[in-house]
Amino acid sequence: MASVQVVNVSLPSLPSGWTADKDFKAVGSLSPATQRTIEPVGPHFLAYARRKRHNRTFSEDERIQAEKTVKKTEEEDEDDFSDNEDPMMLQREAKDWKGQDHYAVLGLSKYRWRATPDMIKRAHRKKVLRHHPDKKAAMGQSDEDDRFFKCIQKATELLLDPTRRRQFDSVDEAADVDSPSKSTIAKKGLYKAWGPTFVAEGRFSNKQPVPLFGDDNSTQQDVESFYNFWYNFDSWRSFEYLDEDIPDDGEGRHQKRQTEKKNANARSKRKAEDNARLREMVDEVLALDERIKKFRQQARAGKDAKRKAKEDEIKRIADEKKAAKEAEEKAAKEAEETAKAEREKNKKNKEAAKNAAKKNKRVLKGSVKDVNYFADGEASAGQVDSVLGDVELIMGKIDVDELAALAEKLSIAGKDGAAVKAAYTAEAKRLVEAGKIKEGDAKVFV
């Protein structure tokens, strides 16, 4: 039992950060177990039984409980197949098997096309147990009365053959659910009245599952797929079952072929009729279906709303455009005005600056004149010339603000020749340092 399996898969490494007390961590528990019976055979069982019973006695209660909880593997025969045979049915001959209701013979009338092969088998067995001719003979009834038994055999044989079962199901009128009458529709409502009919018709579909008829609350998609399904119905229904028997004894090839041809024609005719009938039925229901109207209305309402929304949108866009244009125009106008004002202001400023410069220049020239060109007594022409030349030089190289500053210094200096000269000398020096005039350019203010 405890032999070692060797598995050649390598285990993962311990992730970092994994810790647990004593290197063990319980994470979960096992799912609940199933109670089953183990088979009391084999050496391993006997060892197990010995262990389990060792020094233990079980009470009666425990014994009963143990029996109850065990999961059953043998299903009990609890089918509700109907046992009531119609006396007329019991008198049937297997010869005319085409006329017999095979489901009724097996007691499967309730299930019909829904019966699974397994159900058919079980139903057959049940019927055989009841109607076996050998049993009837043993009970003292006539030995020859095996008519119904033959019917049972025939029915089972047919229903267990998928092809033949479909042929029978195709013409199984008892499984059909007729279209409901107007009064039924009025009473039950469209969906409840027609639903079963569609379910019954849906048994012929190659495509399964068949969409349901639904009810008032079905979505548009469901309803559409329902009608699409029925208008493109892919049916396996065929009508071989109603074929006329082809004489087997060989009355002549000719007759045989003729019958075959007739049968083929009849089949295709029936098939066409069936298709037409189904189409008509779906048309009828479609016309009655309130949901379609509802969806159409909804669609129309939706369309209107859409159109309105579209128009609104257009209007909105136009309005926006207009407003934008207006705003643009206004902005342009404002900009123009500001620009004009600005220009005027600039002009004024410039003039003022010009005037100030002129005035300052006058101050500059005046200042040297006031200190008599730094001469004691009458200044020589040369002296005047060189001083004025230097002043001109400085004035030419100096900018407006510096000019204003210099003029201010000079007006503070007033008639103090030395101060005036110092102011000029400082200015000239600054200009030389700034590289605006050369060292030797200024002749007086050095």
Binding site: S10, P12, K25, G28, T37, E39, E67, T73, R130
Partner: protein, 564 residues
């Protein structure tokens, strides 16, 4: 086995295994070498037909009695096993149509036969018939072994009711056989394989297809550590070797009709002859590609002889074969399993000799599944003998036990056991994927313990062992379409081969982790070392887990308390 072992019963017990079938019975014992041996009766048959026949008070049994079905059908009793312990209204008398008919006798079934020399027939109950049959079997075994056989383990179908069991035990007692235990046929078949000295114990899911003479029973048996649990059964009471015989009968009858314009099946005796010979022909076809059938005076005094080959037979039987395989598929589905889950298919019963059935079954299951039938496996045992062998094996195990002891052991109190509903295993996480390796599979009977060794990562170090519950899923992958080949324009002549090969989906089992249960760490494992994981599950779903490095001294242990 032969030596007295000091068991203080009055008479020394000597037990055999009996397979009591509806059509055939077998007897087996365990030889002193420990091998199961099927005992031949005085006629040399190992499959002894369960038939009794009476002529002038003389009792015939087995093959001789079966031959009487033609001339003396009214006084020949066959296929009576399934009537035992049942009420008349519940039996299906179809198989006995050509022998003595069952009749109502109080609440049980009886036969009216002339079993004495006198002319007036007697009513013999089915239990009496069973007693006589078992007495003959016991006699054959006693004659063969030279020792009085007084007890047995008998196999019964899984759907045998308590009433049937009681009736069988009573009938056996009447025949002087103490029934030590009744065991289920499919389990006996599994045990016939597991009881071989060379067999090893493993965890597996087995389908036992018991295809008998008149009925077929298929069961899914979970075998875990030598403990067997039946997960599902399916029965078909009208499918068996007889269904195949019918095909042979119909075939030859039609051939006969073509020549002689009379249907031999209309005449009871003709049909009986055809049936007897047809069965022989069918069995011969399982062994050789051709088989003969010859019947003297089949109908209207015409002798008839013809042959049939295996291909022809297999062609005609397609539908019946499909029923057999359908039954097998049905039971797998019923057990809530997939064909991929099945590890072994054991074919048991006489009809399993038919080679085509096992070959068809091979197509249902995956290549990994072992199909144990004579046509698919050379090591397969004789399917007809499996039940008897399994019963003999069990008989050798329990023959020294007190009756009381056996009774106690097979009581539901002992046999009703919790079974795991989900598999338990170890999860492997690598950088790319997470895989799960089951250690204990679902439906393992508790308590259970399994040990497994896993390789450590290449460079050793610390290792994580994550014990989880897992579930298997069936992964279906569509094979890559080979549409490109068909696209080229000139495919005018490819119409013939384009549809031949239909691509089948590739289906495989994928294990997924469902719920982590515990995590354990092993530290400092040597490079290239191995880690051993031991998981023990208690009946109350408590767990004990121990992990250690192989060769290492210390183990990491942990326990999780059970819920119940």
């Amino acid at each position: 086995m032969g030596e007295p072992n000091g068991v203080s019963t009055e008479v020394e017990r000597f037990a055999i295994g009996i397979s009591f079938g509806n059509s055939c019975s077998s007897i087996a014992r365990i030889s002193p070498e420990g091998k199961a041996e099927v005992i031949a009766n005085e006629e040399g048959d190992r499959q002894i037909p369960s038939v009794l026949s009476y002529i002038d008070g003389e009792e015939y049994h087995g093959t001789q009695a079966k031959a009487q079905l033609v001339r003396n059908s009214k006084n020949t009793v066959a296929y009576f096993r399934d009537y035992l312990g049942k009420e008349f209204k519940d039996i299906d008398p179809t198989p006995s149509h050509q022998s003595a008919h069952p009749q109502q006798n109080g609440s049980t079934v009886a036969f009216t036969i002339r079993d004495t020399a006198s002319e007036t027939p007697n009513t013999v109950t089915v239990s009496e018939i069973t007693t006589r049959h078992l007495r003959r079997l016991k006699q054959s075994a006693t004659d063969f072994l030279g020792k009085d056989v007084n007890s047995a383990v008998i196999t019964v179908p899984t759907d045998f009711t308590d009433a049937q069991r009681t009736a069988l035990v009573a009938a056996a007692k009447e025949a002087g056989i103490e029934v030590l235990q009744l065991i289920a046929e499919p389990v006996a078949a599994v045990m016939a394989y597991d009881g071989r000295p060379e067999a090893t114990v493993s965890d597996k899911l087995v389908v036992v297809a018991d295809l008998g003479g008149t009925r077929s029973d298929v069961a899914v048996v979970a075998s875990h550590g030598g403990m067997y649990t039946i997960l599902a059964t399916a029965h078909d009471y009208e499918l068996g070797g007889a269904s195949l015989d019918q095909i042979i009968i119909d075939h030859f009858a039609k051939e006969f009709m073509k020549k002689h314009k009379t249907d031999p099946r209309e005449d009871a005796r003709g049909l009986a002859k055809l049936k007897l010979e047809g069965e022989g022909t069918r069995k011969a076809l399982s062994l050789s590609p051709n088989a003969q059938l010859s019947v003297e005076s089949l109908a209207d005094g015409i002798d008839y002889g013809s042959t049939i080959n295996r291909t022809r037979f297999e062609m005609l039987s397609g539908k019946v074969f499909a029923q057999f395989t359908g039954l097998i598929e049905q039971v797998v589905k019923k057990a809530g399993l997939d064909v991929l889950d099945i590890d072994e298919v054991i074919f048991s019963g006489g009809a399993s000799h038919t080679s085509k059935i096992a070959q068809l079954a091979q197509n249902i299951f995956s290549e990994k599944t072992t199909i144990l039938a004579p046509s698919t496996s050379v090591s397969a045992l004789n399917p007809s003998e499996l039940s008897a062998r399994g019963a003999a094996f069990q008989a050798s195990l329990v023959q020294e036990f007190d009756h009381e002891d056996i009774e106690q052991s097979i009581h539901p109190m002992v046999t009703a056991t919790p079974h795991l509903s989900k598999a338990i295993g170890v999860e492997f996480q690598s950088a790319t994927e997470t895989t799960f390796q089951p250690l204990l599979t679902a439906e393992t009977a508790l308590p259970a313990r399994r040990i497994a060794q896993y390789t450590a990562p290449k460079d050793g170090g610390d290792i994580l062992v994550r014990v989880c519950e897992g579930a298997r899923e069936i992964k279906v992958t569509k094979p890559e379409a080979k549409a490109k080949q068909e696209k080229p324009a000139d495919d005018s002549d490819s119409d013939f081969d384009s549809d031949d090969e239909e691509d089948e989906d590739i289906r495989e089992i994928v294990w997924k982790t469902e719920k982590p249960v515990a995590e354990l760490a092993v530290k400092g494992v040597k490079a290239g070392g191995k880690v051993e994981v031991m998981v023990h599950v208690n009946p109350d779903l408590g767990l004990q887990i121990a992990v250690r490095e192989v060769g290492g001294s210390t183990a990491v242990r942990g326990a999780i308390n059970g819920s119940a």
